[in-house]
């Protein structure tokens, strides 16, 4: 009887502390592996692992604790199934594009649609995309990101800078392509 009661208490805590972060878990997995089916499988596996190791959770940020498990599970999945995703996949052709005068750029960036943004994000190298997602969509601080991704805060800062710049370049290139099609 005591063991069951303990199980009930533990599950109650797990439900209270970890289950609410389901959206964050799915969002991260989805952006990392870029496939909704795979993301769901990864989230499910992550939750099972989280439950198994819940006794090791000493309190604190339960979202960060869960997302670390999701991240590890995602990377393991990518290593096994899509190793190419892990390499820097940035398209050199985009990099070489003349981005034009600054004010024209801003105008283009402002008018970009969600779909284009999504595609542009998907086209980013994995590590840039990951940090950008954690910053912009999860609202994590540099410190929280540094702890989750296990890099120095300086790296977080420079990754964000480079990631955003590259995102802008991808968007401008895509916008130009669309623009030329309309002509």
């Amino acid at each position: 009887m005591p063991d069951v009661m303990q199980g009930v208490g533990n599950s109650g805590r797990f439900e209270q502390l970890v289950l609410p972060h389901l959206d964050a878990a799915y969002n991260l997995a989805r952006w990392l592996v870029r496939n909704p089916q795979d993301a769901q499988d990864i989230v499910q596996e992550s939750y099972l692992r989280a439950f198994k190791f819940f006794s090791g959770f000493q309190g604190g940020d339960s979202r960060a604790w869960l997302l670390k498990i999701v991240r590890n599970t995602s990377y393991t999945f990518l290593e096994k199934n899509k190793p190419a995703s892990l390499a820097d996949e940035f398209d050199e052709k985009i990099h070489a594009t003349d981005t034009g005068p600054p004010d024209v750029e801003s105008e283009m960036v402002r008018n970009v649609e969600s779909r284009m943004l999504r595609e542009a994000l998907d086209a980013l190298p994995l590590n840039f995309r990951e940090i950008l997602i954690l910053r912009e969509l999860e609202g994590m601080s540099y410190k929280e990101i540094a702890e989750l991704v296990e890099v120095p805060m300086g790296t977080v800062m420079s990754s964000l800078a480079r990631g955003r710049e590259r995102l802008r370049e991808i968007l401008l290139h895509a916008r130009e392509k669309e623009g030329s099609r309309d002509v």
């Binding site: 069951v4 009661m5 289950l19 389901l22 989805r30 993301a39 939750y47 800078a161």
Partner: protein, 250 residues
Amino acid sequence: MTSDPYAPLLHAYLDSELDLVRSLELEEHLKSCPDCAQELWTQQTLRHGLRSGNLYHHAPAGLEARIRAALPHENKVVEMPRRSFWNWAAVAAAIIIALILTWRMLPSYLGRSGTDILAQEVVASHIRSLQPGHLLDVESTDQHTVKPWFNGKIDFAPPVKDFSEEGFPLIGGRLDYIDHRPAAALVYQRNKHFINVFVWPESEVKDKPARTETAEGYNIAFWERGGMYFCAVSDLNTGELQQLVQLLER
């Protein structure tokens, strides 16, 4: 732009991660550097686009349910149903015991003497009282708590005494029925044994000394005193039961 030393700081500034001193320095720099100012504005626009672009992937419908179902079963055990199960088990056990006792008592009604039937009844009451939660209606070693408790519940006042010093502590009382009439049950304890002392009023005034009997493996003592009938039942051995009876008879 990427070689600009201020570039990463712009991002930190944008993310509110730059300390006060550096922020002030940067703001000062922005006043005189149109390129950096433009870059900052562009980045703010991009950031705004990312946050309002409906890019957050919420968990699809059904995923939560699937995860709950996949989690180990302990997660599904809820306290309430489990407690109810044990309650029902206790109720069922009490019903079964009552049925067995009734069934066993039936032949005895068919040809036994009055006191034999009485013995059967008190034993049955005693056994019933040993079920979880059935022993005591009022729980106290204090006779001044137990005795007044019976007021209004029965129309007689049983003598209630605690014999803790003698090794037979009073642990409480209960309202019970013997032979269809209400009786007071005073519960004593000797080590691990419980002794029910049933008391009810008798019309005959004569005092009768205690006599002992055995029924169903239990020891019973009967006596009459002060217009009341006493009956002590227990699985306690005869010797110790008689000790208690002597204390009660005083």
